[in-house]
Symmetry: C2
Subunit: 340 residues, 2 copies
DNA sequence: TAATTTAGCGCAATCGATTACCAAAATTTC
DNA sequence: GAAATTTTGGTAATCGATTGCGCTAAATTA
């Protein structure tokens, strides 16, 4: 009924609990005969090691914490899946926390995770995070920390990100090859590196292909479809509207497409549009949407591997590791002019 | 640097650790003066209670486990979000496990969760689960268990589900009101109650509205778009093809729409189609898809509340509670004939 | 055969916090 | 002022597992 402990086994066999523990852990100081006996009895009695007691004694909890803005955002839940699948075989559990993109909640969650003595922390920093003293505290405690996607540049912290600049560059390059010459950009929150990088990739492509930069073509958006429709309205009022839009978000790109269709402007014939993230819905829009895949499951798996490496290293020299994954341009109809 | 314990505080103040513990827990047996002193010192020394030690001593870990087939499925991640948001203010953490719809993995995960001494378990049973002895073990240990969405009928286990039968009924009723008379059904895995209920709702609506039942109109599908295209092909070969499809899944409905469009059959003019789940993409398909919203975040919150109630009850009389949420019919263009 | 090594196992401390039980001090009561 | 209470706080066991140290008996060596 109630839990079987090593003491129950030791009493039954008339040996000490220490012997039981050693036998169960394959300690060579125990004779094979005793070991077998203990193992057999433990199995019979349905013994299970008490994780909490072990964690308290060893200081290792075999759990890791994952901090994301929202679990139900496809990108994040996919990363979580990747982490979980990579870590489960190693005996780790994942604790999920939502920051709701709130810096204060991030700090709180970090605290409770530290307090629960997690063996590692994975996080995508919240948009509003400025101060990083809570992150320093993680480092002080020598707990492996891995940023994914959204990171801060802090020495000693590993990160797994995608090459946003290149993803943006590939998108814009693709638009140019489709014959577009006046390419607008929906720019996300510049507080986050990822959006800054996407913007820079946009600029770099323009420069490399000798296209002029027009500041009216860069619109600040916020990852919501409405923001995309508003942005499109603004663009269409310009004396010389763009013939392509590279959006830093699938949602704003979607809003743009909807607004354009409503006004009888054809996509991709009149204007090409590409998004970013490869949200599941992008393959079902009309037209289907060109976008950039961030390989989130892979990102999660990589992050987990980085963590495992850091755990493996005897002396946790906290040597940081920066993994940058290559994004994948997914070309679909919203930029495909060859199909007419 | 290293963790501050109540012993550190007790040494500094030259009192016993017991007193410190009591002071921190507002035990009335400690004089206000001492209490204040301890509290102040604890704050100064940056003391934090060791969760693991507490958990070991009390048997309460303040974590709950959530088992889902895949975390990156929108429905499940939304439920998780609901649970997390409801439980976080109560000091609980959530551990996420993926079963990959594999019964064996479900058993394993349950075991490790029990072993980690979670205070409760939330689960959506995997498709392949037949034997339920692992669930019985949870009950034996008197650990609150709450099924959500996919459940097994086991006495003593609470559940939060939606009224699938009614959701199906509303859908079919809606199709009938649109003038459809020959309504087909894409039926999911009948091993799962939810699909059985959706099927029954379909049948009930047909009966109530005096429409004949045609067994050729019921096609077994598997929640993948391809399965939907295959099903449509089969239906279209019938001597008298249907004029509406009620699909038990958004994905198969999507596959159906795509296949029909490809063959020049118009939706909704020639055939109405409705799905189930209100996946995010359904609002972006062309035409936008009528579907049934399962209110997953609400479902998560309800499940959490059921759990909290069970924890609150002094004697855990394990009185089961069955919550059935009302689904929401979301009417969009794929069934809207008035717009012609 | 005596001396020494080694295999096998037990004792008790430890991880950090809680709490039943008990004891000293302070207060009240007569 | 002595006895009876009441406050206040200490002692030590407990949750379950691990492990350094040491002891006993068997095995090895001289």
């Amino acid at each position: 009924m109630s839990k079987v402990t090593i003491y129950d086994i030791s009493k039954k066999l008339n040996i000490s609990a220490a012997t039981v523990s050693r036998a169960l852990n394959n300690n060579p100081k125990i004779s094979p005969k005793t070991r077998e006996l203990v193992l057999k009895t433990a199995a019979e009695m349905n013994y299970e090691q008490n994780t909490l007691a072990l964690a308290l004694k060893s200081g290792k909890s075999n759990t890791v914490g994952i901090l994301v803005p929202y679990v139900d955002r496809n990108f994040f839940s996919s990363v979580i899946r990747g982490i979980e699948e990579e870590l489960y075989p190693h005996g780790y559990h994942v604790i999920i926390c939502q920051t709701r993109d709130d810096a204060q909640s991030e700090v709180q969650n970090i605290n409770t995770l530290l307090n629960a003595q997690v063996d590692g922390i994975f996080m995508s920093v919240s948009k509003t995070t400025k101060d990083t003293s809570h992150i320093d505290r993680v480092l002080q405690k020598k707990i492996p920390l891995v940023f994914f996607d959204r990171k801060k540049n802090i020495p000693g912290v590993s990160s797994v990100t995608i090459d946003d600049l290149n993803g943006a560059y590939m998108s814009v390059e693709h638009l140019i090859r489709q014959g577009c010459k006046q390419i607008a950009h929906f720019m996300g929150d510049i507080n986050l590196e990822i959006y800054k990088n996407r913007y820079n990739g946009y600029l770099k492509a323009l420069t490399d292909y000798n296209l002029p930069f027009n500041k009216d073509y860069v619109i600040r958006t916020n990852s919501k479809a409405e923001s995309g429709t508003a942005a499109v309205k603004k663009l269409m009022r310009l004396p010389s509207p763009p013939d392509a839009i590279f959006s830093s978000s699938d949602f704003t790109a979607l809003g743009a497409i909807q607004e354009l269709k409503k006004n009888g402007i054809r996509v991709p014939e009149d204007i090409c549009i590409s998004g970013f993230s490869n949200e599941p819905f992008t393959q079902y829009t009309d037209p289907t949407m060109t976008t950039v895949d961030q390989t989130p499951i892979k990102m999660g798996k990589m992050a987990a591997q980085v963590f495992l490496e850091q755990m493996g290293g005897e002396i946790s020299v906290a040597l940081e590791k920066k993994v940058v994954l290559s994004p994948q341009l997914v070309v679909r109809d919203s930029t495909n002019r060859s199909m007419g």
